[in-house]
């Protein structure tokens, strides 16, 4: 692949082109994905520059890998399959618009959670967060990758909280999705009262859905609007610890159907200890004191009669808890409700919380339904046993999404350098076993792509046609997902 630094410099300016090997090193390997050979890094400052980069890539056969977040990189979607130019979007970091009335922000890819949360808070709103995102994680990238948010009632559909986008396809064409498509420029739409809140369209297309989850293989996203919600005036967190996951599942089903609660997640003792430990060296000790499973939920009051809202929610949830045979508590070992409230509203501390206890970790996550979770937990335990991997080094996180219709189920393997090989083996075999057991790897990073796409050849055939339409020369993150052939 030709890497003409001069031509790239002509587009973004020589000061925005780098071949610093230390800088490029973070794109060589991430999690289970390795083999990246980033040659150069460019930092565009505008949509026009990105379009020129794509046009150049088409002309020169360059592989462009878009990346917005700060390291550490953990999933490998931005680790190139071979040579590539890294397009670092972190410099496009403007919070373009924050609309309190319509509860929406327009953000560029470089806006991080650390940056956005206080800005949104000042407006009396809150960001719909995944659990403890990396401090330097791009908010746009998080939504683009369908990272689950912790408040299921606000997760109406898989696109949430992402609404409208501006895209540059692999053809170099510019496109806008949802109500941002117009007619009219953003400024003209704003003048007419538009807020880019409707995520669907334009017309009979819905390209935002196609681009979400595509790991940068179909289009680059220049900005998006992000759904925000009202910051509660009263917010209380509860813990529901229990020895049996089945009871907590029952409680969860009962509570989420009538849209009770705000935050709602289920954590194993290991995972809850990892999330909550102020001192990572105490994770083992805390985990040993905790119940095997804990539901963490929040209840909120807003502008009107907040105490009354919280009161009825607490009462109704207590009734559901009683029916399910569980009981809420205001703290768990090492963590108060107040501390948990802060955790749920913040990015991860540094170092990244999953890396803190043992130094390294690997995640296995997929979608399923809550009633099937115990089955997958058994599969994971069996695989860990098979590999002699200590069960206490596997954390489990269950995040209801789509208002409780699905869950994001995540197993985290914690390991130190001495256990790296064993963890790697477990990652591979457990991924395989979970896939065979019915795990839906809807976000198929790295080796999961082969597992996921082997199950759905018709989807693969259709996606390759989509790739051929949107990125006919295969210049966007070549070799990822099912796009191992550049042009179909």
């Amino acid at each position: 692949m030709a890497m003409d630094k001069d031509k790239l410099s002509a587009i973004v300016g020589s000061e925005n082109v780098s071949e610093d090997p230390d800088l490029l090193a973070t794109w060589r390997q991430a999690g289970p994905v390795s083999g990246g050979e980033p040659q150069l890094l460019v930092r565009p400052r505008s949509t026009a520059e990105v379009r020129e980069l794509v046009k150049l890539a088409r002309a020169e056969g360059i592989n462009l890998v878009f990346s917005s977040s700060a390291p550490p990189r953990v999933r490998g979607d931005s680790v190139p399959a071979g040579e590539a130019v890294i397009v670092d979007m972190s410099g496009m970091d403007e919070l373009v618009r924050l609309d309190r009335r319509n509860k929406v922000a327009l953000i560029e890819p470089g806006v991080t959670f650390e940056r956005l949360i206080p800005e949104v808070d000042k407006a009396g709103l809150k960001v719909l967060m995944p659990l403890l995102p990396k401090r330097g994680k791009s908010v746009l990238a998080s939504a683009l990758e369908r990272e689950p948010i912790t408040i299921p009632k606000y997760h109406w559909d898989m696109t949430d909280p992402m609404l409208c986008t501006e895209l540059v396809f692999g053809t170099g064409d510019l496109f806008r999705t949802g109500s941002a498509a117009g007619p009219g420029s953003l400024e003209q739409q704003w003048a007419a009262g538009g807020a880019q809140k409707n995520p669907m369209g334009p017309a009979q297309t819905d390209f935002v859905r196609v681009v979400q989850g595509s790991q940068g293989t179909l289009a680059a996203v220049m900005w998006c609007t992000l759904k925000l919600e009202v910051k509660p005036s009263i917010h209380r967190i509860y813990f529901v610890p229990d020895a049996r996951l089945s009871r907590l599942s029952d409680f969860t089903y009962r509570a989420l159907r009538p849209k009770l609660g705000d935050e709602w997640l289920i954590l194993s003792a290991r995972q809850l200890a990892t999330v909550t430990a102020e001192d990572p060296s105490r994770v083992d000790e805390l985990a040993a004191q905790m119940a095997p499973w804990t539901v963490v939920y929040g209840v909120s009051g807003y502008e009107y009669l907040p105490e009354m809202r919280v009161a009825y929610q607490e009462k109704d949830l207590a009734a559901h808890a009683q029916a399910a045979g569980v009981m809420a508590a205001s703290e768990v070992p090492g963590c108060s409700a107040k501390r948990m409230e802060r955790i749920l509203a913040s990015p991860s501390p540094e170092p990244y919380y999953k890396a803190a206890p043992k130094g390294a970790f690997m995640d296995i996550f997929f979608l399923t339904t809550l009633d099937r979770v115990p089955h997958f937990v058994s599969v994971m335990e069996a695989e860990a046993g098979k590999h002699g991997y200590p069960p206490e080094r596997v954390g489990t996180y269950i995040q209801p999404i789509q208002q409780g219709r699905n869950v994001h189920l995540e197993f985290t393997l914690y390991y130190d350098s001495a256990d790296a090989a064993k963890a790697g083996e477990l990652f591979t075999s457990a991924s395989q076993a979970l896939s065979e057991a019915g795990a839906f790897f809807s976000r198929p990073y790295g080796p999961w792509a082969d597992l996921a796409y082997a199950r759905c050849p018709d989807t693969v055939a259709a996606l390759r046609k989509v790739k051929d339409m949107l990125d006919p020369d295969g210049v966007l993150n070549r070799g990822k997902l099912c796009f191992t052939r550049e042009v179909v």
Binding site: K103, R176, G193, N198, G201, Y304, R309, A452, T459, V466
Partner: protein, 558 residues
């Protein structure tokens, strides 16, 4: 319907092709009898030239399963015919737009295949209707989103192929966003299953692995039959805290239903638009409402008692009461899961309404109104009564967006309509007749401006296409996507204002349908429109909008 296709056609199907269709579905489920075929040429809604109807199909087939649908589509491919799916019908978009189309009537595929109570979804076939699905879901403490077209319409059709608006959207979202999976017979006869279904993992997740094919199958509007036939789909169900059976006597306006214990029906009125708008935003932030609509009081009278409205509207005082005094109102149905919750919801609603200087009337417990209204709202039985006034109606929809924009659209629509009412071009419904709803606790809003007409009145028929153009131009002026983005007559004009979306739709059509077997008249076709009957001032505005809003190579206008 397109200008080109507004002529009657009587093309016939070859015997060989007909035999292939018989082989596909069985001889008793195919017909080419003219009388039968003509039954498919009439669809009542959004038909701006009902005198000419839609194209007559060359044959109609009634498959019973996906495999038979595949065989029909393959037969069409073999014989150079087109096909067009039809489930429960309603709009002109259900009809054929070419001369050589086989209408695939899906009425034999009418089952609910599965209801997953815990995970809150149902798997249904195309001819299962909203009322059936809702009735079965309620037995399990669940409910189904029913679109504004009413309970006789197919939820599959709106979720996969049409729109999906309904006044329960505030709690139960929008058709497309409720889709969890789909079985899709592509225009070449192959089957594509969308989401986790294609991995053999069930109907629970619609997107992935990786990119979502939902983004190809439709947008805010569906492909309206232009990309194949959907034979099954999985749809989200929502909480229903009422009884498993709604005890009801009678139908429509004679219905008497026992209101559920924790349901309240409020008619709210505000002194002006600003206070109504503020209240709507506050209701959204308070996460209130199971059903919400802003439907003008005059529109209610017009729907339920059209002759009464025609009479009272001649009296200035009554007219002013309906169109001015009670103008800024909304209807909100609250449903609680417990006594405490419904008490809380009502208390908040009262604070919001009184805080904006409004007043609220709870009518659920009123013997004369409540029992009649319950199912008309819950099951959306009332809306189809809009046909009563003149026999037909159409609608002017602009892009669903922030509530403020929808109120702007309602006001604009009222002004446009009043001019046409004054000149006798449409029925007098007091002009202010929007159907407005909220989605997902006011994440965005909806407004379509309803207008009614009499198909036997030549003046009304002559008004329809000019109105269609005028509403479209008005939407462009307000930076809103008009309903005509799905209409072949204006796609060529509007598409370049919106990122050339139709060029992408043509590409999608091409890669899925190389042999052009699907009827794409409502999806990506473009035809010329004769603008000579359009008011010169509107034409001039359209020209100005084209110059102002068309994208350049650099993108949208700055």
């Amino acid at each position: 319907m397109t200008s080109e296709t507004m002529t009657q056609s009587f093309e016939t199907i070859s015997d060989e092709a007909y035999r292939d269709l018989e082989a596909a579905v069985g001889a008793e489920y195919v017909s080419r009898e003219p009388g039968v075929l003509d039954g498919y040429t009439w669809q009542p809604t959004i038909n701006d030239d009902p005198a000419k109807w839609v194209k007559r199909p060359v044959a109609v087939v009634l498959p019973s399963c996906t495999e038979e649908v595949q065989e029909v589509v393959r037969a069409c491919n073999r014989h150079g015919l087109k096909f067009k799916a039809f489930s429960t019908g309603w709009g002109v978009y259900s009809g054929c737009t070419y001369d050589n189309v086989v209408q695939v009537d899906l009425r034999r595929m009418n089952r609910i295949l599965e209801i997953d109570e815990k995970n809150m979804y149902a798997v249904i076939e195309p001819y299962n209707c909203g009322a059936q699905l809702q009735a079965e879901a309620m037995k399990l403490g669940l409910n189904a989103h029913i679109i504004g077209a009413g309970p006789a319409c197919s939820p599959l059709a709106s979720a996969t192929s049409g729109w999906g608006v309904g006044w329960d959207g505030v709690y139960m979202s929008y058709g497309h966003r409720n889709l969890l999976g789909a079985e899709w017979v592509l225009p070449d006869g192959e089957v594509l299953r969308v989401g986790s279904l294609d991995s053999g993992l069930g109907w629970f997740s619609p997107d992935g692995p990786g990119p979502s094919l939902r983004g190809i199958m439709r947008g805010s509007a569906g492909a309206l039959g232009g990309l194949g036939i959907f034979t099954k789909c999985s749809l989200k169900l929502y909480n229903w805290p009422g009884p498993p059976h709604m005890k009801t006597e009678g139908v429509m306006l004679d219905a008497q239903t026992e209101p559920p214990e924790h349901m309240r029906f409020h008619l709210c009125f505000f002194p002006d638009r600003a206070s109504l708008d503020e209240a709507v935003y506050k209701m959204g932030e308070s996460e209130l409402a199971y059903i919400f609509t802003r439907t003008a009081v005059g529109a209610y009278v017009n729907t339920f008692a059209p002759h009464l409205l025609q009479n009272v509207s001649r009296t200035r005082a009554f007219r002013d009461v309906l169109s001015k005094t009670l103008k800024w109102g909304c209807t909100i149905i609250l449903v609680g899961n417990s006594e405490d919750e419904i008490v809380f919801q009502e208390a908040v609603l009262k604070e919001i309404v009184s805080g904006q200087g409004g007043l609220s009337m709870e009518t659920m417990q009123a013997a004369a109104i409540g029992p009649m209204m319950v199912m008309n709202f819950l099951r959306v039985s009332a809306i189809p009564m809009v046909f009563r006034a003149g026999g037909l109606f159409s609608t002017a929809l602009a892009r669903n967006e922030a509530w403020d924009t929808q109120m702007d659209w309602a006001e604009k629509g009222e002004k446009i309509k009043q001019r046409w009412i004054d000149r006798g071009g449409i029925l007098d419904d007091l002009a202010d007749n929007p159907f407005m709803a909220l989605y997902e606790q006011n994440t965005w809003g909806h407004c379509e401006e309803i207008f009614q007409y009499n198909a036997r009145d030549p003046k009304h028929l002559a008004s329809l296409e000019p109105l269609f153009v005028e509403f479209s131009v008005a939407a462009m002026e307000m930076c809103m996507e008009p309903l005509s983005v799905t209409d072949a007559r204006l796609r060529e004009v509007i598409s370049p204002m919106m990122g050339h979306y139709n060029e992408w739709q043509k590409k999608i059509s091409l890669f899925l349908d190389a042999r052009r077997a699907a009827d794409t008249g409502m999806y990506c076709d473009e035809v010329d429109i004769d603008l000579s009957k359009i008011d010169p001032e509107i034409r001039e505005t359209l020209d100005r909008m084209v110059a102002k809003l068309t994208w350049s190579e650099e993108g949208p206008p700055s």
